[in-house]
């Protein structure tokens, strides 16, 4: 049986089902602002009840993509389908999507209650129904006692919840969240991530979130799309994105990684072993990939997959390199060792500090062996 990449968060994967109909479809979307192409011929499917993240650096076009879905921008080319219907030209106030803004955009002249009721009032719902729905929302975000407050009488975390309640009040088909936790401090952010996931699962909604924070995207998402310069580089589950990036860009953008450039010197079997020579360092990789001898590729391995030892490895089936400890970063739970190889390249190895006390701590200038099994790293062709 094939091994799995990382833990399985929930049994939900419509994207692997060829018969599944996408809930939202971006079809060959291009958006230009003057000469600048913000989004370039992008196609993307999102499924119902999915928690989907768009991850990328600022200026990559992710916010523009979200704003096109909300209706604040119209695509220059292509179309957006919601449940199979083209929503181009539908103004934002007639779209069944709601958005939670990065700045929260709470109306400062209205109380919490009025903010949450605002969207419902636009639909001319009966007063009683509005009141009931507001109550329900306040309860959902645990702000019942703050109904009469104005936004500036709330803390950052409370405002974030009001914004969430307001955007959920109309029970949108899709909730768009623009950097929803960006303004919160680290501790609160972590708590809120899990709350968001609970709310999404309990209400059975589709969440579409834009973020530049990879940790946030990894934690909350069913799938992540990594964007760069207006195109999507990879769409996959968080574990796939981390353990099986499809390009140097994704590998480098998510987490910490060693990338060794090299040439394929031999391929054996399928799924076989790719041997590559990276300026004197021979690396063997067990992986299914389309390479032939002579290809220029990169070998990528995460620092935590590299083992470090003062003794030479006994096994010959593992990859091993030898070098000098050049720098050490102590992070508490982990220590990162920067090891300098004979050709002056640096390989990082992260070692968990599992014991409080060690007999012989590794220190600067020590010559160490770095080893990793053949399936620990990955060959990148892009």
């Amino acid at each position: 049986m094939a091994k799995s990449l990382g833990p399985v968060k929930r049994k939900f994967s419509p994207w692997t089902d060829p018969a599944a109909v996408p809930f939202i479809r971006f079809e060959n979307i291009t958006k230009r602002f003057g000469d600048f192409t913000a989004v370039d011929n992008l196609t993307l499917d999102i499924y119902e009840r999915e928690f989907f993240s768009l991850l990328g650096p600022s200026g990559c076009g992710k916010t523009t993509l979200m704003r096109m879905l909300a209706g604040f921008e119209e695509p220059t080319e292509g179309r957006i389908l919601l449940q199979g219907k083209d929503i181009s030209g539908v103004p934002p106030y007639r779209r069944p999507t709601n958005m939670m803004f990065q700045s929260y955009a709470l109306f400062p002249h209205m109380t919490v209650e009025k903010n949450i009721a605002f969207g419902l009032q636009q639909d001319n719902l009966p007063k009683g129904e509005i009141a009931a729905r507001v109550e329900e929302m306040l309860k959902l975000v645990k702000l019942e006692s703050f109904a009469k407050r104005k936004p500036n009488q709330l803390s950052g975390g409370q405002r974030q919840r009001v914004a969430l309640a307001r955007s959920l009040a109309k029970r949108p088909k899709v909730l768009l969240l623009d950097e929803p936790l960006g303004a919160l401090d680290k501790k609160l952010r972590e708590e809120t991530q899990f709350e968001l996931m609970d709310i999404q699962t309990n209400l059975g909604l589709t969440f579409f979130i834009v973020t530049h924070d990879q940790e946030e995207a990894m934690t909350v998402s069913d799938r992540i799309a990594v964007m760069d310069k207006g195109v999507i580089v990879q769409v996959a589950t968080p574990a796939e994105i981390y353990e099986a990036p499809n390009s140097r860009y994704v590998a480098d953008f998510i987490g910490d990684i060693n990338i060794l450039e090299g040439t394929v010197v031999a391929t054996e079997n399928t799924p076989g072993v790719v041997r590559l020579d990276s300026s004197g360092v021979a690396v063997a990789v067990e992986q299914e990939c389309q390479v032939v001898k002579g290809d220029q590729v990169a070998f990528a391995i995460r620092p935590e997959k590299v083992r470090m030892s003062l003794d030479a490895p006994a096994e010959t089936s593992v990859n091993a390199v030898y070098g000098e400890v050049w720098d050490i970063g102590y992070l508490g739970d982990f220590s990162v060792f920067l090891v300098k190889l004979a050709d002056d390249r640096i390989v990082r190895a992260a070692q968990a500090n599992v014991s409080r006390l060690v007999d012989r701590p590794v220190t600067f200038g020590d010559m160490v062996w770095l080893t990793w099994p053949r399936d620990a790293g990955i060959v990148l062709t892009r």
């Binding site: 106030y93 007639r94 409370q158």
Partner: protein
Amino acid sequence: MKSSKFDATVLTLGFAFLYIPIIILVVYSFNASRLVTVWGGFSLHWYRTVWSNQGLMDAAWVTARVGLLSATIGTVLGTLAALALVRYGRFPGRMLFSGMIYAPLVMPEVITGLSLLLLFVAAGIDRGFWTVTIAHTTFTMCYVAIVVQSRLLTFDRSLEEAALDLGSPPVKTFFTITLPLILPAVLAGWMLAFTLSLDDLVIASFTTGPGATTLPIKIYSQVRLGVTPEINAICTILIGLVTLGVIVTSISMKRTELRRIRDEHVAARNAT
């Protein structure tokens, strides 16, 4: 620090220069003597004279009507102009438009006044109350536009987007979200427009006609004849009204500011 003594001196002299002439003017309005340099004791005589001067009272009434009307129309037009400048990006003729907003701020009044007069004459419009009102609307709307524009520039657009996103159409969004939030700037613009209209002599002189003599025109014609305590009294009344208006406005703004600070304290306490 040495410079703080210097600064205090400069500020004292500067404010003395700005305020002493006005204070003298106010003080001498209560002078019983007709002579400016002789203090004849405290008296409200000149205020009674002003009150019973029908010509002055008529002029004041005209000025008030012109001011209220032109400030109100000017505020509507100026707010629209500010929206156009801030929100409409590039539109045909934008350069000319923003030029026409900024130019009246520095344009010598004799030019504005003369050119408007010639327009009214060319169009065959009888000069009077309405021509002064139109003239005042034209130059005050530019001041309103500048005041409102600077507020709109710091306005968080995502508030309007949030309203649209929640199903509120654009025009409704303007009235429920944008306008309430920029209202202080709009009111400040109105105050400014009203005061400018109240103060204007030159443009009103050109564009007025029979039966529409404004207070500044009246005052000017008397000032040319010399200093009289009666004029001091009218001036004092005007100064008093304007000062009262400014003080009331700034106190109410101060209270809003205090409330905001208090709210933030409440928020900080609730942070946990």
